[in-house]
Every structure is written in C-alpha cells, then in structure tokens.
Symmetry: C2
Subunit: 416 residues, 2 copies
C-alpha cells in the first residue's frame, strides 16, 4: 500500500485502444490498494504535428507561444486516460501542469521545475481518486505555460514522485529495462535488475537512450527510486511480477559494491573526429576553436588536448557524424586563419565504445583489461577519455561490434 507514480510514453498513448490498455494497468495497481498518480505523454506524433503547424507560420516562433501550442498534446492525453479509467469504473481526475500547479522558471521550451504544490493531488488521492497529470509542462510565476523540452515527461514524472514522496516512480517504455549492452549487438546482453543513478547517467549519455538525462539527474538529486519497465507486457500480468520487472535505478551503493566491477558497455556508432593541427598553445585557444562550433549549434562530445611540443599542440574533438561537414566548414572558414593553426583533418567513420561501472572506483585494472582486450582483437585505439565511472575509446567504425562483443565477454557481463 504505497504511493506510486506511473509514466507512459507517446507510444503507449498512441491510440484510444492503447489508452484503454494503460487504464487497465493503472486500475490493477489501484485495485491492489496503491495510491496512483499517472503522468502520460502526448499521443505519439502529436507534438511533432503541433510544432509543425507553428513552423508553417514562422521558422523561429516565439518560445512562449510555441509552449502554448506544444502543451496541448498532453492535455488531451490526460483527459482521455481519465475517461478510460471512468469507463472501467475508477474515479479519476486529470490536471494540466498549471492546475496542480507545477511551477517552473520562464525559460520557455526548456523550462526547469521550481516547485510542485502537492495539496490538491494529495486530497484527491486520499479520497480514492487516481490522479492524472500532464507531463512536459508547468506554469511560470506570471501564469505563462512553460514546457520542459523534448522528453520532459520523464522529468515531470520523477519530479512529481519526489514532491509526493512516492515509494517508486515507474517509467513504462518500449524497452524492458537497461541492458549490459545493446542486445542487437551482443545476443548475450543481460538486463540489469538495478543500476546506480550515476551509471544510468553515463549509460544514457552514451547512447542507451532509455531515459531523458534530466529525469535521471532529478532522480539522483531527490534519491527517488525510479524503475524503467516495459509497457508492452499484458496489462493484466500479475502485479507482483510487474513490480519486480525492468531495471531499478537505485541509490544504495553498498548493494552494488559486491557485484561485477563493470555494469555495461555503451557505444555510439555515429561519431566523427576532427583534429586541428599545430595549434599555438596559449590561453583561450580551446574556446577560440570550440566557440564558433558551439555557436553553429553543433554538439561536441569527447575533447582531447595533449601536452604541447615547441609551443604547438594538436586539438582533437568529436561531433555527431551528421554535423561533420558543417563543423569542418566552420573551422576552415572562421577558425583556422584566426588562430594561425595548421591543417584541419578529420575522420567521419569512427565509433565510441565505453565501459561503465560504479565498481570501477574501487577496482584497479579496468583500463588495462579494456585496452588488452581491444589489442588482442587487433583494434587500434584512436582516442581515450575517462571519467570516474567510465572509460571511453574512439575506434574505427568497422570494429565497433567486435569491440563491444569482446569487452562484454572480457568483463563477464553475460553472467548474472
């Protein structure tokens, strides 16, 4: 008998038939005696349709007005789900973010949640109602609707769970959990029963796009136990089984220390590498190179600058492969002459492979094990970057699957 928050994505809400299935699942939890708050996304395709209309009017619409439009998709979803619950005999009520209210700052289209008033919701829950709240949005101090940006419904769900001090936040999605690596690459990949939120952050940012990164940060800040689980199972499957399915993002590091050193192998196939040669080694040079790249809205991932020799150094970084040509243009046109560097060279056929694990902190030798494994497969390492709980290498794209499979085996990830 606990307070539980459910979050359902656009695919789960994709048709009225699917919404009825969501209602069955929610009702099952309520029948078992839980208090349930549900945070659904807009029906799949709806947010794109709405933003498409705005872009027909103008290329760069006013963000406040864009949020007025984009927020309507979730408002339709919550009311449809409420009706579907009524249809199976449940008391339910839907709220838009401003009705709760969920207070945000005024950074329209990328707002951050400031506070959530739980009074109204708690009163409904205590009277036996299921409460359904729009994801993705809130209201600023002046009464303007503000959205949290793409994928913001995950963040809404975790924030609402934190505000209500829920026992657990369940994120229903189209994968059944977080795996040691992508099962399409390594058939032995194993679903993780638990993962720490730091590992989840590294896994998410490295391409296991299960949860929006900000929602994981929120879960971390509020130590909110958050579970990723499948929305594709039978909605009437036994509750006990469902409650233990998926992957739990936990905050109990102790339980984890006895597990394997490494939690998973993440990868990102579509990287491109750019090196600015013979860069004069003087203060501010990194900014002079990356500033124009960032101004062109190109995301930069790994960045490496080595010890300089004779006052010159090579500066290397990676960008998403789709941005490679644009990034090269920016550098050749506005950077090269300006900073007086040498040639700019690049390679658009590289991939990043990372080993991730909290256990790495207390186990030496993870790096050497990783490099030995790659060496034994004859895979050349082009770049290395490390953080406390991950080591990433950049390699030739054609060796990516081989590297992931070899590392998965070397670290014994197929074993529970």
């Amino acid at each position: 008998m606990a307070l539980i928050v459910h979050k359902y994505g656009g695919t789960s809400m994709g048709s009225t038939e699917r919404i009825k299935n969501v209602a069955k699942r929610v009702a099952k939890w309520h029948d078992a005696g839980h208090q349930v708050v549900v945070v659904p996304s807009a029906m799949s395709g709806e947010t794109n349709r709405l933003i498409g209309l705005a872009r027909e009017i103008m290329e760069q619409p006013d963000p406040r007005e864009l949020d007025m439009i984009a927020s309507t998709g979730e408002q339709v979803s919550v009311a449809l789900l409420s009706m579907a619950l009524h249809g199976i005999g449940k008391e339910a009520v839907s709220y838009a973010g401003w009705q709760v209210p969920i207070i945000t700052d005024s950074a329209f289209t990328k707002a951050r949640i400031r506070s959530i008033d739980d009074a109204k919701v708690r009163k409904d829950l205590d009277s036996g109602r299921i409460v359904i709240i729009t994801g993705f949005q809130g209201v600023d101090g002046e009464g303007n609707i503000a959205t949290l940006g793409r994928g913001g419904s995950d963040t809404s769900a975790v924030a609402i769970a934190a505000a209500l001090k829920a026992a657990e936040c369940l994120i229903y999605t189209d994968v059944d959990g977080v795996y040691t690596t992508d099962p399409r690459v390594v058939s032995e990949a194993r679903r993780l029963k638990t993962v720490t939120f730091e590992e989840m952050l590294e896994m998410a940012s490295l391409g296991s796009k299960v949860l929006q990164i900000r929602s994981v940060e929120f879960a971390g800040n509020y130590r909110m136990p958050t579970r990723v689980l499948s929305s594709l199972t039978d909605p009437l499957m036994p509750l006990e089984e469902e409650a233990n399915s998926g992957t739990l993002i936990s905050f109990e590091e102790d339980t984890h220390m006895e597990q394997a050193t490494i939690t998973g192998i993440a990868f990102n196939r579509d990287e491109a590498k750019i090196t600015v040669m013979a860069v004069p080694d003087r203060p501010g040079i990194a900014y002079q190179i990356l500033g124009p790249v960032a101004d062109a809205n190109i995301e930069v991932d790994m960045i490496i600058q080595n010890q300089s020799v004779d006052g010159k150094t090579d500066f290397t970084f990676t960008v998403p492969r789709g941005e490679y040509v644009k990034a090269m243009e920016v550098l050749n046109e506005s950077v090269k002459a300006h900073i007086g560097s040498g040639n700019i060279v690049g390679d658009a056929k590289v991939s990043k492979v990372s080993v991730v694990g909290v256990g790495m902190r207390s186990h030496v030798g993870v790096a050497s094990q990783m490099f030995r494994t790659l060496s034994e497969e004859g895979i050349n390492i082009q770049m290395i970057s490390t953080s406390e709980i991950k080591i990433s290498v950049l390699i030739d794209e054609k060796y990516m699957e081989l590297a992931v499979r070899a590392l998965h085996k070397a670290f014994g990830l197929e074993k529970a």
Copy 2:
C-alpha cells in the same frame, strides 16, 4: 482610435495560410491606431476531431474531462495567430481563458461566463500589444476548464468586448451580413445595414444561423454594438470600407422606427407537425404530453392548444423533421394511453415561414397583410403563432419558396 474586438471562426483559422491572412487584417486595424483584441475559434475540424477521440474512449465521457480536451483547439489557434502577427512585425500575446481569467460556472460543456478580469489585457493593450484570447472557454472557481458549448466563441467575443467596454465587436464569418431573407430563395434579398438585437434573436432562432443565440443575448444585455461581416474579403481592403460593411446589431431603436415595418422573412424548411387529438382538458396535460418528448431530447418549437369543446381539445406542436419518427413513437408508447387521448396524427412535410420586425409593434395590419398575401397565392395556413416582433405560419413544404418570395415582395424588402 478605439478598442475593437475581432472574432474569427474555424474556417478563417482553417490553415496556417488563412491564419496569416487573419493576421494581416488584424494588423491593419492596429496600424490605424486601434487597440485590438482577437478571439479566434479552433481550426475547422479540430473540435470534432478532439471530441471524436473522446467518444472512442466512451460514449458519454465525463463533461469536465471532455472540456479539458475540447479546449485545446482554441489554445493552438491563439498561439498560431500570435506567431503570425510576430511574423509581420506586430507585438502580440496569446492567452487561454484561464490566464485572463474568464471565470465561468461549473456547468461543463455548457458553462456560462460569470466575470472577466480585464486588468492583464488592458495592460497589454496599453503597452501596444495585440491580445489574442481563446474563445469558447473559461475557468471555474475551482480552477477547472469549462467550455461554453458549440459556437461559444461568438459569446466569448461579445463578453470580452463588454468587459473591456469595447467600441464594437466584429464577428468575421463566411456570410457578409444578415439579409432580409435567404438570397438562395429570393434573389432580391437585401443585406441589412442594421438590425435590432431582438430582431436578430428572432432571425437567428428561425434559421438565419449567423450568430450563436447566446452571443446575441449577451450583446443585448450589455448593449454591445456587434457587427457581422465577411472574412472572405481582401484582408487589405480599405479599413473605412470594412468598418461599414456587414450588418450592425444596434441598440438604437429610434433610428429604426422610420425604416420599414418588417425587417426580414425567416423560414425553416425541415419541420414536422404532430397533433394529439381529443386531449382531456385538465391541468398539467401539456406537461404530460411534452415531458416525455423533452426527456427523449427532442426539441419542440411551435406549440398550439385551442379552446376546448366538450372538455376535449387538440394539442399540436412541431419538432425538427429528423426527430419526427422518434417523437411519434414516444407519444404512441408512453403518452396516449396514459392521458387517455384520441389518435395521434402528424405531417412531416411542413415548413415554417415568419415575418420579423421591431416595427411591427407600432404598425397594425402586418398580420392581415401577411395572411392576404398567402391567400392570394393559394397557400393554406396550418398553424399560426405570434410574438411581439414576429408572426410565424406553418404551411405545406412545397409552398415554402413561393411564400417567402411573395412575402418578401409584399413587404417591399427589396427596396433599401
């Protein structure tokens, strides 16, 4: 230099291209120095799409939840129009009803406006902004969204105009005004430059469905000058010409007294007539007949009960033709035996023709002129009913056009 409210229907807002045209028209009024508030409907088809989704979930959805869904169509419209104004260099801001706020009662799907707070809107107008407000909706005392029911945007526009003490409320629609009768029936039909709000009420309820009846009542209660004009003209037509086009619903009866006695000929082709014969003439009998009809959600229009003879009377009323069969069933099954009446007879091929005019009050002889005209055409009158400013007759459907043309001519309506 006045405060003007514009209202645009779903057809005018039907595509992003059309919304850009609305923006041009609005900007023209603002350029001329007016303060402008705009109340647009949802894009055509959108409200039906939304309600269709709800009906897929359940046949009779909860009205509060239905309003959560139905209100989103206008929210999209206001933001798109705001963007379109930005696109041509105008400062504009959009508000949902709850942001103004427009306070309604809690009669979801058919709410009534209680009050409108003008502070926020006035501040925006004074700082040079064009303000765009969702039609059709407001918020109740508990913060729930409530809609005004179909066509409610007309009512919103007039109510907002009244709250802001606007100089005029312009309802842009797909007809260019109110005519002496339907031009498709009488080619000499003439557009009225002005009409009193009482005449407008009679014209609207009799089938000239130009404006939602409640909006006309609102205009009447607040004496808000309201103009019906075409949204199909060139948005850049000279403002002076546009400002005098269409039909003004006025509250200056004096100017009207010198005009023609009769303002127009209204008609409704699709009526059906039902007579309950030999009804015992006792108190409560009308309710016993019409109660079950109303319970079956059948609208009743004309009602006639004549002097009784030997304690029995014939009770006749009309219903929309589409409801005729259902009404006959209700009467034969639940009414006839219960009240001990004679047979129930009906005719589903009758039409109603009405002459309407405030001038009727002070001119005798309108009725006799009407009846003589019909008699000269050999048209038999089946029922008569009268109000202060209209006389309606029920006739055989096949004579309807003939009757309308003859009356239009007899009262000299083709002459300005």
